[in-house]
């Protein structure tokens, strides 16, 4: 299959992007300055990301909340217009089919889906629907993330009113005489926005941001930023064999749904909520400079294998290696000494508090 390209491919190319194949798309992994500088620019000023490979899925119709609540374990009936929630699509065992952001719009919902999962997601969602329901995957708009402490100040210059949005809230605004939908959200641990902009205006928006000295950021820094922020990446921390309780994401289910259930995998999730899980996602800080990549085996101090690393890299803002992984729950307490097997040798590490990097979201 030929790799797909986002609408902004040539724009990235002209900026000196290096590309990588990701979820069937040719995406920028980094630009000329490199991952560490892109990461630091985002944390100290602002950066923009083309995330148009992600699915922008719109769904509406009579009693759509009820249909979606079967596979999405969040309180959709209680979700107000323009409010967003982080949630999941769950399979029968409570395993995560995908993680997502769902926003109630004027009519129905908009769901942002992972690029690699979107086709299967739509198949799974369709199973819950009837003839009263309508959905489509929007291809008319690009999705741009603007992240970093200066995001609000900068974006306000071009899209009036966005700086009044609260974290996980969205709204329709005006950009160059066209409607534009903006949410205050992101995937870096910084304040920021995700902007659904017409394909025909996407490059113009990026040029304006670049005029304000905002740097383009590739998938490489997106990964180091989200990892420092302790955020899960589908296919690494999350998959169909892992449920949200094991992933330490029970907060995302919400109190009402945790108590009332009525979604896929509820029996298992309920049991896990009451009795705990066998394994759980934790943060890991290796000692020294050793980097524990995905697949690194985790051992207890008495050399019993207790888990595996799901993501690991160097964290530019904390200037140290960071990792996340799953360990047997009895070894999951923060501060627990563990060992990581890298290239045949065991290295000391500690279970650490997530996030590694403190967030600064707009409340």
């Amino acid at each position: 299959m030929e790799a797909q390209k986002t609408n902004l491919y040539s724009y990235h190319k002209n900026l000196g992007a290096k590309f990588v194949s990701f979820a069937g798309y040719e995406m920028p992994i980094q630009y000329s300055e490199g991952i560490v500088k892109e990461h630091i620019s985002t944390r100290t000023f602002a950066g923009f990301f083309d995330v148009s490979h992600m699915g922008q899925f719109y769904i509406s119709g009579k009693n759509i909340e009820e249909a979606l609540e079967k596979i999405i374990p969040t309180d959709l009936k209680g979700l107000k217009e323009n409010q967003s929630k982080y949630s999941f699509l769950l399979n029968d065992k409570g395993g995560v089919i995908d993680d997502l952001i769902i926003t109630r719009r004027e009519k129905g919902f908009c769901i942002i889906l992972n690029a690699a999962c979107k086709e299967n997601d739509i198949k799974q969602i369709s199973k819950q629907l009837n003839d009263d329901h309508k959905f489509h995957l929007c291809t008319q708009t690009s999705l741009i993330a603007l992240q970093g402490p200066k995001s609000a100040e900068i974006l306000e210059n071009y899209i009036k009113g966005v700086s009044s949005l609260k974290f996980m809230q969205g709204g329709t605004f005006n950009f160059e005489n066209e409607k534009i939908y903006v949410t205050r959200s992101g995937y870096t641990g910084e304040d920021g926005f995700e902007i659904s902009v017409l394909n025909t205006q996407a490059e113009l928006l990026l040029k304006k941001l670049a005029d304000s000295k905002v740097k383009p950021i590739g998938l490489g820094a997106r990964d180091t930023l989200r990892l420092e922020a302790g955020l899960c990446l589908y296919g690494h921390e999350l998959n169909e064999e892992i449920n949200p309780i094991e992933a330490n994401l029970k907060w995302a289910i919400g109190k009402k749904r945790r108590e009332e259930g009525g979604f896929n995998g509820w029996e298992i999730i309920k049991k896990n909520l009451e009795k705990g899980t066998l394994k759980i996602r934790v943060g890991i800080l290796p000692e020294g400079k050793i980097i524990a990549r995905e697949g690194t085996k985790i051992f207890s101090t008495n050399d019993e294998e207790i888990g595996v690393v799901t993501s690991g890299t160097f964290g530019p803002s904390i200037n140290a290696p960071v990792a996340m992984g799953y360990v047997n729950s009895s070894w999951s307490e923060v501060g627990t000494n563990i060992k990581l097997e890298v290239r045949g040798k065991k290295y000391e590490a500690k279970v650490a508090v997530l996030p590694f990097y403190k967030k600064s979201y707009a409340k």
Binding site: I35, G220, A221, K289, I290, I291, R293, F314, P316, P321
Partner: protein, 126 residues
């Protein structure tokens, strides 16, 4: 010191008497990106031609560094272990990886000179 020689795996070697200094090329660092971890071989270790000898990691991934020729490690560069990013700034100078006592001079004949290496890189950019 003699003219540097280069391997297809993007290592360089500079010979002085029976001692060879080994590092990775500027092109290698450009492909790797920001270097955040380096492991060099211990003194006294024997390395084989094209055998794994050191490790370099960028924010993206870990890569092995191979020894372009065989020999015994007599010195390693601890300063690049303490400051891996220095490999990006001076890969073909101060940020050498290790030095070996050369076992077999004829192995040097399999390596490229600067002109041939630059041509090789131009033909194999990735």
């Amino acid at each position: 010191m003699s003219e540097k020689k280069f391997s297809k795996k993007h290592e360089w070697v500079a010979v002085e008497g029976d001692i060879a200094t080994i590092g990775i090329t500027k092109h290698a660092t450009e492909m790797l990106g920001d270097i955040v971890f380096v492991e060099v071989p211990d003194k006294g270790k024997s390395v084989e031609q094209n055998g794994q000898a050191a490790v370099v990691e960028s924010t993206k991934a870990a890569s092995d560094v191979y020894s372009p020729i065989s020999g015994e490690v007599i010195e390693n560069n601890k300063s690049i272990v303490d400051d891996p990013s220095s490999v990006n700034s001076d890969p073909e100078g101060a940020s050498w990886f290790f030095k070996i006592k050369i076992k077999n001079n004829s192995e040097l004949d399999n390596l490229m000179n600067k002109t041939d290496y630059d041509k090789f890189v131009a033909e194999n950019p990735n």
